[in-house]
């Protein structure tokens, strides 16, 4: 029972840590904006994920905090390579009957993917882009951490031990006044230790609206941001059997703010659940706070 709950929550936390928009653009997912040939961009993300109170007698309390470093390199103006390396800290307290605390921290699994822009249409002060991306997640995180109760269940480990594949398409329409991004993506989770997290399917959309005035000498924008993330997770599998207390569908709305200059971006957003149709007794999200910066080298 404990493991089933943890499997659900692990998936959400890692998914959000792996979001990798590196140009100015969405905060919680990708962008189709160009990365110049030979350019290097670094994004650092701090993520705080809190869960709602447990309705079961286990009275579980889970916190997931993470830092993610994202590096992107423009091979050409159309092809960019992304690398995402997270550091994850997980705390689970079970207060039903006896109190149990389980904890893990460490480097997580590394995500590597490529994005190719297959369509662009530029006009004065605006651009429309479509890109496809695909890659994999390598099991670089530790998946054999133990505590006084023995080996931690896989969802509480820093790494999954499995290889995943991912892919999707992303659209960006950007003008001087606003930007709209939309993304469809799928993440096929691998199997390790007789366990597989449920596959993930996402539809994301983002609106960034410029709040600051535009003058001839304007070199920085302040955007108000509103994003929506529709996320479906299949049920996890243990020994080839579905776990009925995992998976489900969630819809998040994310208000945020973004300050964009030529060399760096500062940003913050909070993801609030609007709908959480989760299977069984999975813990629901209370909120996810994301903040960080991007540097254009």
């Amino acid at each position: 029972m404990k493991r089933r709950v943890q499997w659900q929550t692990w998936g959400v936390g890692v998914t959000l840590l792996a979001s990798a928009s590196v140009s100015a653009g969405p905060i919680t997912f990708n962008s189709a904006l160009p990365v110049a040939k030979g350019a290097l961009i670094n994004r650092e993300i701090l993520l705080i994920h809190r869960f709602k109170g447990d309705v079961t007698s286990a009275n579980r309390d889970l916190e997931v905090n993470g830092l993610a470093s994202v590096l992107v390199y423009g091979v050409t103006s159309k092809l960019a390579l992304f690398g995402v390396l997270p550091y994850i800290d997980k705390n689970l307290d079970i207060n039903g009957g006896q109190s149990i605390a389980r904890h893990s921290k460490g480097i997580g699994d590394t995500k590597l993917f490529a994005r190719y822009t297959f369509f662009k249409q530029d006009e004065r002060g605006k651009t429309l882009r479509f890109a496809a991306f695909g890659g994999f997640k390598a099991p670089t995180g530790d998946d054999i951490q133990t505590d006084s109760f023995g080996r931690l269940p896989i969802p509480l480990q820093s790494g999954s031990g499995a290889w995943d594949t991912l892919g999707g398409v992303v659209m960006t329409y950007q003008t001087l006044d606003y930007e709209i991004d939309a993304q469809l993506s799928a993440n096929n989770k691998g199997r390790a230790n007789d366990f597989a997290l449920g596959n993930e399917y996402r539809a994301d959309v983002s609106l960034q609206y410029r709040l600051s005035p535009l003058e001839d000498d304007t070199h920085s924008f302040l955007y108000g941001v509103l994003e929506a993330n529709l996320i479906h997770l299949d049920r996890n599998q243990l020994l080839g059997m579905d776990d009925d207390n995992s998976g489900g569908t969630s819809l998040f709305l994310s208000p945020g703010i973004q300050y964009v200059t030529p060399k760096y971006v500062l940003e913050a957003a909070v993801q609030l659940p609007v709908l959480q149709n989760l299977n069984g007794s999975a813990l629901a999200t209370d909120f996810i706070f994301t903040t960080g910066f991007r540097i254009n080298f």
Partner: protein, 104 residues
């Protein structure tokens, strides 16, 4: 003697004024119309790309107007082919390029 000195000083002043005008006029100002520029992050990339071209003294993008102003040193010219390639590499589209002599 005083009159001679005054004449010399006036001549010197006029000469330096004339020289500085010629010097400024020798620099070439290019104005590039670039499509797709819509945020400050893009501005930096295009300034960095164009700025590394031979002879370029100064590059400044104007997001509102969608133009990139480039000042090129005396005796140097900006190759349209090279400019177009750099702008394409930055991820944008060069619509037109205009030039005129003289510092702006």
């Amino acid at each position: 003697m005083k009159k001679l000195n005054l004449t010399f000083l006036i001549t010197l002043f006029m000469s330096s004024l004339a020289f500085s005008t010629v010097s400024a006029a020798a620099e070439t100002h290019y104005q590039l119309q670039v499509d797709g520029l819509a945020c400050p992050f893009c501005e930096y990339n295009i300034e960095k790309k164009v700025g590394k071209l031979d002879g370029v003294l100064k590059v400044k993008a104007n997001l509102k107007e969608g133009v990139v102003n480039v000042l090129v040193a005396d005796g140097k010219t900006l190759s349209e082919k090279k400019v177009k390639q750099e702008i394409t590499d930055a991820g944008f589209t060069l619509r037109s390029i205009n030039s005129h002599q003289g510092k702006k």
